[in-house]
C-alpha cells in the first residue's frame, strides 16, 4: 500500500525515470549523438586554458613588474619563515665572510629540540604528552630520520599557521556575507577535490621549483576545512550569546574576538586538526616538487620497494602530525595564569630560562662530544627487514585466498559496474541528473547540476569521468558502509572510541603511498588495489563525523529518553541517529571529497580515470589538460554534493514537520 502511495505521489518523477531508462536501452539503435557527444559542440577548453596559463607566465605584465615576478615575490615571502626554521632545526646557517670563509652556525642539536618540546608539554601540564613527545622524537633520532623530520616539521608548521589564519579569515568573511559565501563555497569545493597534479604545473611555473610552490599547493588543499568549519560554527552560535555581546556594548571587532571566536573555540580546534592532518597528507606530493624531508624519504624508499624504510618514515610523519595536533589543542585550552606580583623574573620565566641553559650546555658539549649532534652510527636501528618480511610472508603464503577475494570483487562488482557506467550515454546522464535535481528541489537545482554534467561531456573527457564516477562511487559506498557502523559503535563505547581515534588519525596522516605499495604487492596493479587505498583513506571522515555527531548530542536529550524508558537500541534509533543525521551526512559528503582527492593515488596505481589524465598532463607539461580534468572532478563532486545536501535539507524539514504534528 505504502509503496503504491509513494509512486502515486511521485508519478511524474517515476514516469520520467522510466522514460530515461527506455532511452538508455534503445539509444544505440537510433540516435548516435546521444551516445557520442558530437565533436561539433566539443569545446577545446584545455587548449584555451593552456594558452591562458602560458600568457600569464610569459607575458602578463602590470607595468612595474610582471605577473611572474609578483608570484615569485609572494613565494619568497612565504618561504622566508620556513627557511629560517629549517636553518634553526635542520641545516644550520651559512654566511659567507669577506675573505670567502664560510661562517657556519649549526642547527639546534637533537637534544635541545627534544628538550624544548618536552618542556613545552610540561609547561602545558600534560605529562603524558611530554612522555609521548620524548618517545616519538627518540624514535626519529634512532631511526636516523632526524634531519628529514626537522625539514618537514619546519615547512609544515608554517603551512599550518598560514592555513589556519587564512582559513579563519575566510570563514569569518563567509559568515558575515551570504554573497561571498556563495562564491567561496564552490571555490572551496574546487580546492578540495581537484587532484593536486592538476595544478602542480602552473604552481611550479608561477612559484618556482621548491618549498614555496609546495607550500602553495599544500595550502590549496589543506585550508578549506578550516574556513568551512569556522563558518559553520559561527552559524551555530546561540543567539543568546550574540545578544549578550550586544547588551554589553561590543563593537563589531570586539564581538568577533571577545564573543564569537572564543565561543566556537572547541569547534575551531576540529578545523585546526583537519588542517594539520591534510597538510601532512601533502608531504609526499610536496617532496615531488622540491620540499624534501620525510616525504622524499618515503617516496624514494617506495620507488626501490624498501617498504620497511618507507614505513618508518611514514610513521615519523604520523608522529609529527600527532605531536602538532595535541600541542595545538593543549595550547588552545591553556588559560592565562595569574600570579602573585611578588614572583620574580626567574620564577616567571623558569621554562624559558631552563631551555636557554640547556641549549648552551648541549652546544658547549657538542664541541667536545659529537654525540650531542650526531647519533653514532652503531646506535641507529632499522626495522626495515621486519616489515619487508611481513609483506613477503602474506604475499607468498596467503595469495590463494587473497586472489579469490580480489577476483570475486572484480568479476561481480567492479567489472559489471564499470561496463555499465561506460555504457550510459551522456545525454541520459544529463537528463537523469536534471530529473533528480528537479525532483529534490526544483528547476534551478536541476538546471544547475545538469549544466555541470553537460560541461564534462563538452570537454571530451566523458569516458574517463564515468570511470571516475564508477571507481569513487564504489569506494565511497564501501567506506560509508563500513565506516558509519564503526562510528556508531565508537560513539557508544569510550574504549572503542579511543582505539578508533588513534587508528583513524594514523590513516589520515600516514601517507597513502606507504600502504599503497604493499597493497599493490598483495593485490596487484588494478582497480581493486586502488579501491582498497581509497577506502582506507576515505573511511576516516565517515567514522569521525558519525562518532562526533552522536557524541555532541546534549546529555539532556539522552536523559529524557532514558526517563521515558527507551532501551539502548531505541535511544540509538530514535534519538541519536536522527539528531546526528546532519553530521553523518556531512561525513558522507567528506568521504566523497576525500575519495576524489585520492584520484592522485589511484592514478599512480594505474586506473584510467581523470586522475590519470592529470598525471599525463603533468608529464606533458600541459597545464590546460590537467586543469580541465581537475575541473571535471570538481564538477562531479559539486553535483553529488549539491544533490545530497538538498536532499538532506529537505529530509530534515520533513522530519521536523512530522515531529511537530
Amino acid at each position: 500500500m505504502q509503496v503504491l502511495e509513494i509512486v502515486k505521489r511521485n508519478i511524474f518523477f517515476f514516469l520520467s525515470l522510466i522514460l530515461i531508462f527506455l532511452l538508455y536501452l534503445f539509444s544505440n539503435s537510433f540516435l548516435s549523438w546521444i551516445i557520442e557527444f558530437p565533436d561539433l559542440f566539443k569545446i577545446p577548453i584545455a587548449k584555451y586554458i593552456t594558452i591562458f596559463v602560458k600568457w600569464l607566465i610569459e607575458d602578463a605584465d602590470f607595468g612595474l613588474f610582471t605577473f611572474k615576478q609578483f608570484t615569485r615575490a609572494i613565494g619568497s615571502l612565504l618561504d622566508a619563515p620556513s627557511l629560517f626554521l629549517k636553518g634553526l632545526l635542520a641545516n644550520g646557517f651559512k654566511y659567507e665572510m669577506d675573505n670567502s670563509d664560510i661562517l657556519y652556525i649549526p642547527p639546534l642539536s637533537w637534544m635541545s629540540v627534544i628538550f624544548i618540546f618536552v618542556t613545552t608539554a610540561i609547561w602545558l601540564k600534560d605529562y603524558t604528552l611530554a612522555f609521548f613527545i620524548a618517545i616519538s622524537l627518540l624514535y626519529v633520532v634512532f631511526f636516523d630520520l632526524w634531519e628529514s623530520t626537522m625539514t618537514t616539521f619546519s615547512s609544515i608548521i608554517v603551512a599550518v599557521i598560514i592555513g589556519i589564519i587564512i582559513g579563519t579569515l575566510l570563514g569569518i568573511i563567509s559568515y558575515k556575507s551570504k554573497n561571498i559565501n556563495g562564491i567561496l563555497t564552490p571555490i572551496f569545493d574546487f580546492m578540495q577535490t581537484m587532484p593536486v597534479f592538476a595544478y602542480l604545473v602552473p604552481a611550479l611555473m608561477l612559484f618556482g621549483y621548491g618549498p614555496a610552490a609546495a607550500l602553495i599547493v599544500t595550502l590549496i588543499y589543506a585550508m578549506p576545512p578550516m574556513a568551512r568549519i569556522t563558518k559553520n560554527a559561527l552559524d551555530q552560535v546561540d543567539n543568546e550569546v550574540v545578544e549578550l555581546g550586544k547588551m554589553v556594548g561590543c563593537s563589531t571587532l570586539q564581538m568577533l574576538y571577545r564573543v564569537l571566536l572564543p565561543s566556537i573555540r572547541p569547534r575551531m580546534m576540529l578545523g585546526v586538526n583537519q588542517v594539520i592532518m591534510l597538510t601532512l597528507n601533502m608531504v609526499i606530493i610536496a617532496s615531488m616538487i622540491g620540499a624534501g624531508g620525510l616525504g622524499y624519504d618515503v617516496w624514494q624508499s617506495l620507488k626501490q620497494l624498501r617498504i620497511g624504510q618507507g614505513f618508518e618514515a611514514g610513521i615519523a610523519i604520523t608522529l609529527v602530525a600527532i605531536i602538532l595536533d595535541r600541542l595545538s589543542q593543549k595550547i588552545a585550552e591553556k588559560r592565562p595564569v595569574y600570579r602573585d606580583k611578588k614572583t620574580n623574573f626567574f620564577q616567571k620565566n623558569i621554562y624559558l630560562i631552563s631551555i636557554f641553559i640547556f641549549i648552551i650546555i648541549t652546544w658547549a658539549c657538542g664541541n667536545w662530544f659529537s654525540f650531542f649532534y650526531d647519533i653514532p652510527e652503531n646506535l641507529i636501528v632499522s626495522s626495515g627487514r621486519f616489515w619487508d618480511g611481513i609483506i613477503d610472508y602474506i604475499n607468498i603464503n596467503y595469495h590463494g585466498p587473497i586472489r579469490l577475494v580480489r577476483d570475486f570483487f572484480y568479476i561481480y562488482l567492479l567489472k559489471p559496474f564499470k561496463i555499465f557506467m561506460i555504457s550510459v550515454p551522456w545525454f541520459v546522464v544529463v537528463l537523469l541528473v536534471f530529473t533528480i535535481g528537479f525532483r529534490i528541489q526544483g528547476l534551478a537545482l536541476g538546471i544547475k547540476c545538469s549544466m555541470l554534467v553537460l560541461f564534462i561531456a563538452m570537454t571530451g573527457f566523458w569516458e574517463k569521468a564515468m570511470i571516475t564516477v564508477y571507481l569513487i562511487g564504489v569506494c565511497v559506498l564501501l567506506a560509508n558502509l563500513i565506516g558509519i557502523p564503526i562510528g556508531i559503535i565508537a560513539s557508544q563505547n569510550d574504549r572503542v572510541h579511543k582505539v578508533t581515534q588513534v587508528i583513524i588519525d594514523t590513516f589520515q596522516t600516514l601517507p597513502a603511498f606507504v600502504y599503497l605499495i604493499p597493497v599493490i604487492m598483495i593485490f596487484s596493479v588494478g582497480d581493486f588495489s586502488a579501491m582498497i587505498a581509497v577506502v582506507l583513506y576515505a573511511i576516516v571522515p565517515a567514522i569521525r563525523y558519525t562518532d562526533n555527531g552522536i557524541r555532541q548530542i546534549p546529555k539532556s536529550y539522552l536523559d529524557a529518553a532514558v526517563s521515558v524508558g527507551c532501551t539502548k537500541f531505541q535511544i540509538l534509533r530514535r534519538v541519536q541517529l536522527p539528531l546526528s543525521l546532519p553530521d553523518i551526512m556531512l561525513g558522507v559528503n567528506q568521504t566523497l571529497m576525500m575519495g576524489l582527492s585520492m584520484l592522485v593515488i589511484t592514478a599512480l596505481v594505474g586506473t584510467r580515470d581523470l586522475g590519470q589524465e592529470t598525471l599525463i598532463a603533468l608529464s606533458k607539461v600541459d597545464p590546460g589538460r590537467g586543469i580541465t580534468a581537475g575541473i571535471c572532478v570538481a564538477f562531479i563532486a559539486i553535483v553529488v554534493d549539491r544533490l545530497i545536501n538538498a536532499w538532506s535539507q529537505k529530509r530534515k524539514k520533513e522530519l521536523s514537520l512530522m515531529n511537530n504534528v
Binding site: P81, Y209, Q300, K303, N395, I396, D407, I520, V525
Partner: protein, 324 residues
C-alpha cells in the same frame, strides 16, 4: 595584542628584506665567473641516477662550488630547469622522456649537454621460470601460444594473458605491438614506476608467471634472474612503415629502439658557473661501471653517496681529465 602583532610584523619584514638583499646580491654576483651561489643539482631517488648526480656534485664541490642536491620528479624537473629554479638536471632517457626533453631543449632555456655514454634499453621482461609455461622464450613467438597466455592471465584480462606496462604517459606501444604480431595478450598499465616494480617483485616472489615492462640499467632485472623477450630487431621504418617487418599490414611489429641517457642543464647557469658546466659536458661513464655502481647500491645496500665517493676516490685518472 597589538604589540605582539607589531613585533611579529617587524621581525617578518626584517627577514623579508634580508632574503631580498640576498636575492639582490646574488644577481650582482652572477656576472663574476666564480660564483658561490648554490648550484641546484637534481636527484630523483633512483639509485643509478642518484650516483651519477652525486659523483658530479662531489666533483664540482672539489672545485669549490656550493652544491645543493634538490629532490625532484623525473618529468617535473624539466619545468624547474626551464625556469632556472633547478640547474643541473638528472639524466633523461630517450626511451621515456624523448618528447619532454625535445620540448625543453627547444625552449632555449634548457641546454642539451650531450649524452652520458650509457645506452638504455627498455622492453618486455620476464623472470626465468616463465620459460616453463612458455617454452621457446626468449623468442617472441612463444607468446603466441594459448597455454602460455592462459598462465599469464588475470581476472581483468582473462582469457588473454596480461602484459604489465609502465605508466601510460611513458608512451608505451605495447597494444600496437600486440595487435601487429597477433599476440593473445592485453595491456594493463601500472600508474607509476613504484607500482610497476611492486607488482613485478611480488609476482616473482610467489613464482607467478608475469611479463612486464622493465629497463636497464635498473635494480629490478639486476636483482632477479630473468630475460628480455627477443623481438624482430628494431629498424628504421618499423614504427611508421607498415610493410616493414613480419606483419606487412601493421606498424610496430618489432622490439623497442634503444637510446641514451642525456644530460640537461639550465641555460642561464653557463655564465654563472662556466667551469661546473664544462665538467658536466665532459662527464661520461661507461655501461660496465654504471652496472657495478648500481649493483653496489642496490644489491649490497651501500648508500648511493658512499658509492659515489668511493668511485671518486678510486678513479682520479678518469675525472682528473674533466676538471682540467
Amino acid at each position: 595584542m597589538k604589540k605582539i602583532i607589531n613585533n611579529f610584523l617587524q621581525s617578518y619584514l626584517i627577514i623579508f628584506f634580508l632574503s631580498f638583499s640576498f636575492l639582490v646580491s646574488s644577481t650582482v654576483k652572477a656576472t663574476t665567473p666564480e660564483s658561490k651561489d648554490p648550484i641546484k643539482v637534481v636527484i630523483m631517488g633512483y639509485s643509478g641516477d642518484n650516483i651519477i648526480m652525486q659523483i658530479y656534485g662531489e666533483l664540482i664541490s672539489k672545485l669549490g662550488y656550493n652544491v645543493e642536491y634538490t629532490p625532484a620528479d623525473y618529468i617535473g624537473q624539466f619545468a624547474g630547469l626551464k625556469s632556472g629554479d633547478l640547474h643541473i638536471g638528472s639524466p633523461g632517457w630517450d626511451t621515456t622522456a624523448k618528447d619532454v626533453m625535445a620540448d625543453a631543449w627547444g625552449s632555449g632555456t634548457v641546454l642539451n649537454m650531450g649524452n652520458i655514454g650509457i645506452s638504455v634499453f627498455e622492453d618486455w621482461w620476464y623472470p626465468l621460470y616463465v620459460k616453463d609455461k612458455c617454452p621457446g622464450l626468449p623468442n617472441w613467438e612463444a607468446l603466441l601460444d594459448a597455454e602460455c597466455a592462459k598462465s599469464l592471465s588475470t581476472a581483468e584480462t582473462s582469457p588473454n594473458g596480461r602484459f604489465l606496462e609502465g605508466p601510460i604517459e611513458w608512451g608505451g606501444t605495447g597494444n600496437l605491438r600486440i595487435e601487429a604480431l597477433g599476440l593473445p595478450l592485453e595491456v594493463i598499465n601500472a600508474g607509476s614506476d613504484a607500482a610497476l616494480g611492486a607488482d613485478i617483485v611480488a609476482a616473482v616472489k610467489r613464482k607467478e608467471p608475469i611479463i612486464a615492462w622493465t629497463w636497464q640499467p635498473y635494480w629490478l632485472p639486476a636483482m632477479y634472474p630473468g630475460e628480455f623477450v627477443a623481438w624482430p630487431e628494431y629498424g628504421d621504418g618499423c614504427y611508421d612503415d607498415a610493410s616493414w617487418g613480419p606483419n606487412p599490414d601493421k606498424t610496430h611489429d618489432c622490439g623497442n629502439p634503444t637510446g641514451y641517457m642525456w644530460k640537461s642543464a639550465w641555460s642561464g647557469g653557463e655564465s654563472i658557473w662556466p667551469k661546473a658546466y664544462d665538467v658536466w659536458k665532459k662527464f661520461t661513464l661507461d655501461e660496465k661501471t654504471m652496472g657495478d655502481l648500481v649493483y653496489k647500491s642496490d644489491i649490497d645496500g651501500t648508500d648511493t653517496m658512499d658509492v659515489a665517493k668511493d668511485w671518486i676516490a678510486e678513479n682520479e685518472s678518469i675525472w682528473g681529465e674533466w676538471l682540467k
